[in-house]
């Protein structure tokens, strides 16, 4: 069986829901951040796959991937800054402890 677009989409969808599972079950904020990275990667795979299989003559998927990677880097940096600050104030990085913003 020749590998086609559907196979790659299966892979990226699986990766996406693994990320979702991780985001919902992990209580440690750093591991939640990792789960988010998985989500972003699955999206990147989608972009590249569509670019390769459907729009071979264009570069749009590549550019979106590049921008996504850049934005993901920024996001990760800010997230880690927040986590460190949170840890400094609460001596914990458990997301259950970050509940002061409620009624």
């Amino acid at each position: 069986m020749e590998v086609g677009l559907t196979h790659i989409l299966f892979l990226s969808t699986a990766l996406f829901f693994i990320g979702v599972y991780g985001f919902l079950t992990r209580r440690n904020t750093i591991t939640m951040l990792m789960a988010i990275e998985l989500l972003l990667n699955s999206v990147n795979i989608n972009f590249i796959a569509f670019n390769k299989y459907l729009y071979g003559g264009k570069l749009e998927g590549v550019f979106f991937t590049l921008f996504l990677i850049a934005i993901a880097a920024a996001e990760a940096a800010v997230a880690i800054a927040i986590i460190i600050n949170f840890y400094r104030n609460y001596k914990s990085i458990d997301v259950e402890d970050a509940d002061s913003l409620k009624w």
Binding site: F23, L24, V95, D99
Partner: protein
């Protein structure tokens, strides 16, 4: 045009001094504030005297008739073509006469206050208020537009309020200023509606056009007379409402209750505002619209006459019983303004018939002089004795010779004893009343007798009667020169003002009117006045029980008059019992239960709903994520299968 400029400067200088003193007075100018105010007013006075001279002897007359001259005019708000609020200055005999009176009396008061208010902490503020008042009053009399007069009218009311409440740490002064403001505001409501009625009918706000349209046969006049409401034409209603505003400012019955209380202000203020200038604004207003009253609505003019006569009488009766010297003077003011009012009321328009109008303006002029003098004299007495009550005084004639002499002149003038100023103007009024309305004449004659009585009751009580005991009293003399000088000048004016050939200058139609003295006619009032003085002499020259005997002989009437005929109590009853209970309480109930209830209901609903759903806001990040995820999936399902 230098002429226009000098006329603009007449009210402009006090305005300037108000701004200067109001902004910088307390901090930087302090003691100099008085001099700044006085000097700017002195300039204003000189300018108005020059203007008066120019108007009466040089430029005002065209073929024997004094013209209405608009010296400056600026269209400020144009509502529709022809109906606009202008800011302008109009010169005619009465406005020229008024600017002279206002600046002159105000100048006297400014000078007097230099001594009287010395050492007062808010000295500069006081002078700022005085300047504001003078500015407003000058603006009022010079107005060329009925709405402009209303604006200055309110400004005058405000400055009066500020000055009555000048001692704002005294509760009675605060109450008095509020009372004055509310009562006159209430009357001004009538004035405003009157303005609207008149301007709607005449299709203009400009005095000159308004008077022209409403005195000659024009479509506007006919439609106003044609439109009738409750048995009177809309013209009559409009004029009566305007008169209601004037009655409020001029303290005519039944809107007079604020005037006696207004005496809580500093005494020079009482002299300026509540005796000589502001309170005659109502008379001035009626005189301003006099052609309309006299030619087109004689019914309204009759009302003016009867209200004036009644106020004159009732005020004179009350004045006989009061013991606070400023209150006696206040009621005498009210009585004298009543004289002016009914003099207008019995007057006709033009020629010989206009005698009452001329007399009224003449009396306004002389009254301003001697009433200001009386108040300033009373101020000097109060300054010396530190009390307003008659029983604390007595035997002051040797301690205060200047005050004594000038006060005596003023008393003789107001009583109508020849050759003092009041005699001439009062004679004219009585003559006019005699010619037109015998009932009012009778009332006026009796009232002028009463006037002589209560004025000399005051005079004897202050300067004769018992000896003055200067216990706990540092004898600081009669007062500085700044206080005596205005008394002397005003005393001279009270002596000679009557000899001004007034009828040559101020008449209803602008034409010269020759008046002659009827010796025979003058016998009755002078005799009555002398009788009043004699009675007062017998009762109050020295301490004796005569006064109390007479008071008890009058019994109920005396009690009534002492309590000012319970008019204040009636007002209180009406407002507290009737208005508060019938209107205030139900509206309060509606406000509390229905309006507030509605608001509370919506607030409670929101609160309760929030209580119910606040647990959703748990602060648990992953719970939010689950809901977000579920929502996103739900949307996918919706878009895939439901909304395709």
């Amino acid at each position: 045009m230098s002429n226009a400029l000098s006329i603009i400067l007449i009210p402009g200088l006090p305005l300037l001094s108000f701004l200067l003193l109001g902004l910088f007075g307390r901090k930087y100018l302090r003691e100099n504030a008085g001099w700044i105010g006085t000097l700017s007013l002195l300039a204003s006075t000189v300018l108005s005297l020059v203007t008066a001279f120019n108007y009466f002897f040089v430029s005002g007359k065209v073929s024997g008739v004094y013209q209405q001259i608009i010296v400056a005019k600026h269209t400020w708000l144009e509502f529709s073509h022809g109906v606009s609020i202008d800011m302008g200055f109009m010169l005619d005999p009465i406005s020229v006469m008024m600017i002279v009176i206002v600046t002159f009396v105000s100048l006297m008061v400014h000078i007097y206050s230099l001594g009287y208010m010395k050492g007062e902490e808010r000295f500069a503020t006081y002078y700022a208020f005085l300047s504001l008042f003078t500015f407003s009053m000058l603006g009022l009399v010079l107005s060329s537009n009925i709405f402009q007069i209303y604006i200055f009218w309110e400004l005058v009311g405000v400055s009066s309020f500020l000055l009555i409440g000048f001692y704002f740490d005294k509760p009675s002064a605060v109450a008095a200023s509020k009372k004055a403001f509310i009562v006159t505001r209430f009357a001004d409501l009538g004035f405003l509606i009157g303005i609207l009625v008149l301007s709607f009918g005449a299709e203009t706000l400009d005095f000159k056009t308004l008077i022209e349209r409403l005195t000659t046969s024009t479509p506007q006049l006919n439609s106003m007379i044609g439109a009738s409401f409750l048995g009177a034409s809309s013209l009559t209603w409009g004029l009566l409402l305007v008169f209601a505003g004037g009655a409020g400012k001029s303290a005519m019955f039944p809107l007079h209750i604020w005037l006696p209380d207004a005496m809580e202000g500093p005494t020079p203020v009482s002299a300026l505002i509540h005796a000589a200038t502001m309170v005659v604004a109502g008379v001035y207003l009626v005189a301003r619209l006099f052609p309309v009253f006299a030619i087109s609505a004689p019914g309204a003019l009759q009302v003016v006459g009867y209200v004036g006569a009644f106020s004159a009488l009732i005020a004179a009766v009350i004045a006989c019983t009061q013991t606070d010297i400023k209150r006696v003077l206040a009621y005498s003011t009210m009585s004298q303004i009543g004289f002016m009012m009914f003099a207008l009321g019995v007057s006709g328009y033009g020629g010989e018939h206009g005698l009452g109008y001329m007399a009224s303006m003449f009396h306004l002029f002389t009254h301003a002089m001697f009433k200001a003098l009386l108040f300033l004299g009373a101020g000097a007495v109060i300054h010396y004795v530190h009390s307003n009550e008659m029983e604390d005084m007595g035997g002051l004639r040797s301690k205060m010779p200047v005050t004594h002499l000038t006060f005596l002149i003023a008393c003789l003038a107001i009583s109508g004893i020849p050759p003092f100023a009041g005699f001439f103007s009062k004679e004219e009024i009585l003559l006019a009343a005699f010619q037109h309305n015998k009932l009012i004449y009778a009332v006026a004659l009796f009232t002028s007798g009463l006037t002589a009585f209560y004025m000399f009751r005051l005079y004897f009580s202050i300067f004769w009667n018992k000896e003055f005991h200067a216990e706990h009293h540092d004898d600081h003399g009669e007062g500085p020169m700044t206080m005596k000088l205005p008394l002397i000048i005003l005393g001279l004016m009270a002596l000679i003002a009557g000899f001004v050939p007034f009828s040559h200058f101020v008449t209803s139609d602008g034409q010269m009117l020759e008046t002659e003295m009827h010796i025979v006619f003058s016998v009755a009032p002078v005799f009555l006045a002398l009788t009043g003085i004699l009675i007062a002499f017998r009762l109050y020259k020295s301490e004796n029980p005569g006064a109390e005997k007479i008071a008890s002989a009058f019994g109920g009437l005396y009690e009534w008059a002492l309590h000012k005929f319970y008019i204040d109590e009636i007002y209180l009853f009406v407002t507290k019992k009737i208005i508060f209970n019938l209107i205030g309480k139900p509206s309060a109930w509606i406000d509390r239960n229905i309006v507030d209830g509605g608001v509370n209901l919506s607030a409670d609903l929101t609160g309760d709903t929030s209580d119910l759903i606040k647990d959703w806001q748990s602060g648990k990040l992953q719970k939010y994520a689950i809901w977000f995820f579920a929502g996103a999936m739900g949307l996918v399902v919706v878009f895939m299968y439901v909304w395709r």
